[in-house]
Each structure stands twice: as structure tokens, then as C-alpha cells.
């Protein structure tokens, strides 16, 4: 189910502005990869190119190669809609559909691909996805209540359930905890630990302790200079990045000397 992502020579542009320069990396399946770096260094931008969500922004485009196992997701024949059902995404701000019930939120994506799902199949998928997101026990008695009535942390787990219900092979998370309190953050981090058994997980975070806690590998991004494009500085085992970084810039960042 989980798949490997291979990026080579990827440049990202906003119209004529080069935002991210020449990134090459391998993201291992069944592991958590964290992207860290200061604000505006292009890590979120880069993350969004992994499932072609950047194309939603007018003028944004990417050059280079992104392989999902053997599939070139920027291939001529490839539909971005298919890419996104294969590579799911969770956003910084929890965004359940406000007019839909908890149940309908979870099933929304799955219904797109399988319109003739039976009631029992749908019930099963909802329970499985909510259990998978550690939310089932909290909401099982109010599945027909609107998703917007949940707490922030619960909403974010609902969004994770919604993303996993589509059965993707990769899950991208763009600062999923930055709007949450420590307890809710812990719940999400526990969930990430559990999810990595089945998915390839990529998480962008501003919180270095979080990167250290949840990830197996860490990639550090930085701007080469103010106004210049963002770059991948260093990538390696999380343990190594945080204890024995190879680059001076990385060391400066993780020890809090800048950024």
C-alpha cells in the first residue's frame, strides 16, 4: 500500500519567480519524513508539488521529476486528480466540510471514486477510517452531527480520517498541529506513529521537537540568501540530523542560533 517517492532535480516557480531550487530526495515507504526549516523557505511549496496541489495556485508550476514507485506523476498522460487520490493531504487548518455531518465528511472522498457504495460498505469504511484516526470512540454516538462542531484537534483527526478513507498510499501533512494545543498535538503524533505502518508519511513542521519525536528521516530546507530560492540543505536519519549534522547551516538552525 505505501509507496516510495523519488524526486530528482525539481524546481518550483511562481510565474517567473523561482521559489524552490533543484531538490532531489528519496522518501521511504512506511516511514515518516519531516521537512523543517524557517518560514518562507519553500518546504510547504515543495510538499504541495508532491501531489500537484501547487497547480491550484495560479502561476505555480514545477519542473523536474517526481516518481511514485514507477509512476512519473508529472507524466503527460497523468491526471492530477488521480495523483491526489493516491497521495492524500492534511492541511494546517482543519477543514472539514461545514455543511456535512461527521459521517458524510469521512465518506466524501471515497464516494467520489465509488458512487455505488452500499450502505453497509460505507458504514464499514467510516468506522474503519475513524478508528484508524483514533476518533471513533469520541464520535461514534454523533456521526450525524456536523463536523464543524468538533474541537480543533478532533477536526484535524476527522480530516485525517477523511484523507485515509480514500485509501491513498502516501499522506502529506502540512503543519498539521500548528493550530492545536499540546494534548491534541500529542494525539495527532500518536496517530502518525500508528499510520506509518500503512502509509508513507511526509510532515512539514515548524516544531523541531515534533520532527525529532515523530520522524525517521528529516530534511532541512533553507533560503540560500534573502530573496533567493529555497533549497534542500541536508537530509538524513532524524537522529543524525539532530545530533551530528553535516552542514553548518543545519547545525545553526537546530541549535536555535538563527531562524
Amino acid at each position: 500500500m505505501a509507496k516510495r517517492i523519488d524526486v530528482s532535480g525539481l524546481h518550483v516557480y511562481y510565474s517567473d519567480f523561482l521559489a524552490v531550487e533543484d531538490v532531489s530526495m528519496t522518501i521511504e515507504p512506511r516511514s515518516v519524513t519531516a521537512f523543517i526549516g524557517s518560514s518562507g523557505c519553500g518546504k510547504s511549496t515543495f510538499l504541495r508539488t508532491l501531489n500537484r496541489m501547487h497547480e491550484v495556485t495560479p502561476g505555480a508550476r514545477a519542473e523536474g521529476k517526481v516518481l511514485l514507485d514507477d509512476l512519473d506523476i508529472y507524466g503527460r498522460e497523468v491526471d492530477p486528480v488521480m495523483v491526489r487520490s493516491e497521495i492524500g493531504m492534511v492541511f494546517q487548518k482543519a477543514n472539514p466540510f461545514p455543511t456535512m455531518s461527521i459521517y458524510d465528511n469521512v465518506i466524501a472522498g471515497a464516494r467520489l471514486n465509488n458512487t455505488r457504495m452500499s450502505k453497509s460498505e460505507a458504514d464499514e469504511l467510516v468506522e474503519e477510517s475513524l478508528r484508524g484516526a483514533n476518533l471513533w470512540e469520541e464520535v461514534k454516538d454523533r456521526l450525524n452531527k456536523p463536523g464543524s462542531g468538533l474541537s480543533g484537534g478532533q477536526q484535524q483527526r476527522l480530516c485525517i480520517a477523511r484523507a485515509t478513507a480514500v485509501k491513498p498510499s502516501v499522506l502529506l501533512m502540512d503543519e498539521p498541529c500548528s493550530a492545536l494545543d499540546p494534548i491534541s498535538t500529542l494525539a495527532i503524533e500518536d496517530l502518525i506513529h500508528k499510520l506509518k505502518e500503512d502509509y508513507t508519511i511526509v510532515i512539514v513542521t515548524h516544531n523541531m521537537q515534533q520532527a525529532a519525536r515523530v520522524s525517521d528521516r528529516t530534511a532541512f530546507f533553507n533560503l540560500s540568501a534573502p530573496g533567493k530560492p529555497g533549497k534542500l540543505i541536508e537530509m538524513g536519519e532524524t537522529n543524525q540530523i539532530f545530533t551530528r549534522p553535516e552542514k553548518k547551516e543545519t547545525e545553526n538552525y537546530i541549535t536555535g542560533r538563527f531562524g
Binding site: M53, R84, N95, F97, P98, T99, A108, L112, R162
Partner: protein
């Protein structure tokens, strides 16, 4: 000495409000009261002027379909046929215009390249700037003759539906034609309202849909339309308000007659506004007063529709907030 050296200290709080604040609050409150006074004044005028004819009326004003008011004694008239025609024409216009307006708004916001979208937006707004007498001329002289064969086709193939039963009017100056012209006239307001609310759909909702593999249409269905529902309904109701009161275009298109007819392809229906405009110059006896009574009914219908629209929009805003 030390106190006088201090730089201009703020005046001690006295508990008095400043003069500018008082004046502005007064002006704002005055404007608010003024609009209520105008509304009440119009309603009072209509009531007072309509009263004599309503008292003298020998038939039921609300159910009678005939109009014999231009007499000095025992007038007999009713607003039923007029009210029916008015609501019917507006309903046709709404039915035709709303889907098209939603389509235009979605195209402008989510499909068209930016430059085309801007141009198209201006063009739609321009539709609202065309005087209604021009619409009337166009409907009477261009659209109606074009529709004659269409109506004949409709009676032939759709004649089994009572609404479209034959024989079709040979001039096509019917309620359906008026409805089509009204639809064009209310298109801009419904489009503008829908467009505004589609622009406000939070990016998070749209991206949520796209990120789980929704196509653009599926994104619109999942995120945009549920969010925009109240705006669309509000726009449609405002458009209906305009369609109800439209006078000139309808008066020019419909051939004058008076009856309740569910048949949209035959002449026979009339609307309140057009009836007032056509009858007023010849009104004698109780005629003027009776026409004002008809105006009162139009006032009530329009007020009800507009208040309904406000209520729907306000409720929708509360839900999505």
C-alpha cells in the same frame, strides 16, 4: 510648575461624549428612521387612496378576475388575474434565469481565464444597465416573432402538458415571452450575488476537496455550492423582486387582456405593474383608486419576497459563520 511643563496631556475623562461622535450617531440614526418613514408613507398613501374603491367594490377584490372600475357607481373589480400573472411571470423568469446565472458565475470564478472572467463580469453587469423600455422593444419586435415557430413546436410536441397546450398565440406576445425577457433582466443580479459568494468560499474547503482527488466539478459540488447556497437563494429572491415590479417591458410585450390562464403560450395574462401603467391614462371614476389598490397588492407581494430573501440570506450567514 511641574504640571504645566508636561506635554499636552489628554483631557481628563469627563464622561461626556465628543461632539463629532454625537453628530455622526444622530445622522446615522436619522437616516435609519427616514427609510422607515418613507416605507410607512408609501404604505399609508396606498391604503388611503385605495380605500374608497375597496369600500365601493361590489365584488371580491382578492378573487374577482374582471376589471370594471372606470365608473362613478358600483365598480366591480378584482386583482386575482393580475396577481396570478405577476407571480407567474416572475416565477418563469426565476426558473429560467437562476440555473444560467449559477452557470455564468461558476464559469467566471472557477473556469474562465482571468482576463476573460473580468470582461465577462463587466458584460453581465452591463445587462443591468440596459433600460427596461429597450428590453420591451426588443422583446416585442425581435424576440416575440422569433419565438412564434418555437411555440408552435412546443404545442406540437409538449402540448400534452397543460402549460403548453395549443393553439399557440400567433404573435407570441404571451406570458412565456415576458418571462424570457424578465429572465434576461434579472440575470445580472443573480449572477453578481452568486459570483460574490463563490469568491468567498474558503480556500481550505476547496483544497480539502481537491486534495482527496475531486475533479473541479466535484470540488464545486462538495465545497462551493453548499457554501454558496444562501447567496444564490438571496440573489434569486432579489431578482424575483425586480421581476415582480417590472412594468415597461412587460406592458410592451403582453397583449392587453385579463384572465387567469395556465396556458403560457396563449395571450390572456397580465401583470399588476403593466396593468397599472396601461390603465392609468384612461382611468375615470373609481378607476384610479382601484389601480392604487392593485398597487398595494404588488407592494405587499414584493415586500414579502424581499423579506423572505433577507431572512434566507441571514440564516445562511449564521450557519456558515
Amino acid at each position: 510648575m511641574t504640571t504645566t511643563d508636561a506635554p499636552k496631556a489628554a483631557p481628563p475623562p469627563t464622561g461626556k461624549r465628543r461632539i463629532g461622535d454625537v453628530v455622526f450617531a444622530g445622522l446615522a440614526r436619522g437616516s435609519g428612521i427616514l427609510i422607515l418613514l418613507i416605507l410607512a408613507g408609501v404604505a399609508a398613501f396606498l391604503l388611503v387612496q385605495a380605500w374608497p374603491s375597496l369600500l365601493a367594490n361590489t365584488s371580491n377584490f382578492l378573487t374577482d378576475q374582471s376589471w370594471n372600475a372606470n365608473v362613478r357607481e358600483n365598480p366591480s373589480f378584482g386583482v386575482a388575474a393580475l396577481a396570478f400573472g405577476t407571480v407567474m411571470a416572475a416565477a418563469i423568469a426565476l426558473l429560467l434565469a437562476t440555473p444560467v446565472a449559477i452557470g455564468i458565475a461558476l464559469f467566471i470564478v472557477y473556469y474562465a481565464p482571468r482576463r476573460l472572467a473580468t470582461t465577462l463580469g463587466y458584460l453581465v453587469d452591463l445587462l443591468a444597465a440596459i433600460p427596461s423600455v429597450v428590453y420591451g422593444l426588443w422583446g416585442m419586435m425581435v424576440l416575440a416573432p422569433q419565438l412564434v415557430p418555437v411555440y408552435e413546436g412546443m404545442t406540437k410536441y409538449l402540448g400534452w402538458i397543460p402549460l403548453f397546450a395549443g393553439p399557440a398565440s400567433t404573435s407570441a406576445r404571451t406570458l412565456l415571452t415576458a418571462g424570457v425577457v424578465l429572465a434576461v433582466m434579472i440575470l445580472p443580479i443573480i449572477t453578481a450575488m452568486s459570483r460574490d459568494v463563490f469568491h468567498q468560499v474558503p480556500q481550505g474547503h476547496r483544497e480539502a476537496a481537491l486534495a482527496m482527488g475531486a475533479t473541479r466539478w466535484e470540488m464545486i459540488r462538495l465545497a462551493v455550492l453548499p457554501f454558496g447556497k444562501s447567496g444564490i437563494v438571496g440573489g434569486a429572491m432579489l431578482g424575483m423582486g425586480r421581476a415582480l415590479g417590472e412594468t415597461m417591458a412587460v406592458a410592451m410585450i403582453l397583449s392587453p387582456s385579463l384572465a387567469i390562464s395556465f396556458n403560457l403560450l396563449q395571450s390572456g395574462n397580465q401583470t399588476i405593474a403593466a396593468h397599472i401603467a396601461l390603465q392609468y391614462p384612461e382611468a375615470t371614476g373609481y378607476g384610479v383608486s382601484a389601480l392604487i389598490a392593485a398597487g398595494l397588492v404588488l407592494f405587499a407581494i414584493t415586500l414579502a419576497v424581499n423579506m423572505g430573501a433577507r431572512y434566507v440570506v441571514a440564516r445562511g450567514n449564521k450557519e456558515s459563520a
